[in-house]
Subunit: 187 residues, 2 copies
DNA sequence: CCTAACATACCAACGGGTCTGTTTTGTAGT
DNA sequence: ACTACAAAACAGACCCGTTGGTATGTTAGG
């Protein structure tokens, strides 16, 4: 892999695991055996530019992945449950959730850096758009689909936070049992 | 106010606004005109001890506040909606949400410091306990009450994160329209 | 041979934390 | 009521590792 991609991959993982401020440039560099010169060659604006690049990549990956799941399942319910299953598997395997959220970065940086906030915001919008579209094909009204898409996003994101905080997959498992009923009622 | 309380109050606000790593000791000290000597007199273990003290205080305040709201309303639905209203007001007034969440600290520190993670976890448990108790008095089954309490916690916490990220109160407003239906269906 | 892609030494600023010294306060004895 | 004194409550200089960032030098590819 080329140096730039290697840098992005390594930084993405570290940022997701530990947040932004908790990861130093030297740590990233050491983790992938790249020197500072190479980093500043590819990212002249330094750490924040690297972060934003990571967020964009992550955004694409997550969006693609969710889209794939949603195309594999007929109903929103099946797709969401499958997605949550994957999150749970991810969590139980790694002890943390990487690849589906950057909540740590959101809450750490949203108020500190406008470019970062915008990059984070984009992910949530993408996710909601996918949910929304699927719901529309199932016959939900536009408003209903919007509201449900929002609730799905917030409850999953919140559940991820609780899982991390409580070191348990229970929050995700629990909301998975309730979300179907919301879908049914508001159709 | 005595120096220690002043320190805790100032630090609590700053930590909630900007997270943990984004706030330096000097910033806290300057904000309340206290010197480093005084800080390390009251908190010999430094910044992290100060943070944990802040979290404990915040935990009590939030719990007390939510309990008050829940005792003022007959149904869980009314109480939750009132609570969300307060959050929205809080957000629209200050542009951020302080006093009801420390999501920034959770996601930033939960994986870095076990004592901090435990302190954060306690808040979520308290909130869920309040919801759970109220639901039980309304006649929900124990399992149902637990699940709903969890969903309320996750969706509200997630909505707060989305509000901050999108700089808009819409997420909270939207979930407020859907949560009542969950309460009704799962009774 | 020129430019992109590095490597490495270096830097100033800032971080949390410690040290030593001073003031204030509470208290016991006479 | 006054003194003595110890302990708590501060004040502020200082320390040193780390931080992100830069400057200059070297290598490799077209």
């Amino acid at each position: 892999m080329d140096t730039k991609s290697l840098l992005i991959d390594t930084a993405t993982t570290l940022f997701q695991q530990k947040g932004y401020k908790n990861v130093g440039l030297n740590e990233i560099l050491k983790a992938c055996n790249v020197t500072k010169g190479a980093l500043y060659h590819h990212f002249p604006n330094g750490k924040e530019e690297l972060l934003i690049t990571c967020l964009h990549g992550l955004n694409e990956d997550i969006t693609t992945d969710i889209e794939a799941i949603f195309s594999r399942h007929l109903s929103t319910e099946d797709a969401i449950l499958s997605m949550i299953d994957k999150l749970i598997g991810n969590f139980e395997k790694n002890g943390t959730i990487i690849g589906y959220t950057f909540s740590s970065i959101v809450s750490e940086m949203a108020t500190m850096s406008e470019p970062v906030r915008i990059a984070c915001s984009a992910l949530y919008e993408n996710m909601q758009a996918i949910y929304h579209e699927k719901l529309m094909t199932e016959g939900y009204s536009n408003e209903s689909a919007s509201a449900i898409a929002m609730l799905l996003t917030t409850s999953i994101e919140g559940a991820i936070m609780l899982c991390i905080t409580q070191k348990s997959a229970t929050p995700l498992k629990t909301i998975a049992t309730l979300l179907p009923s919301i879908l049914k009622v508001n159709k």
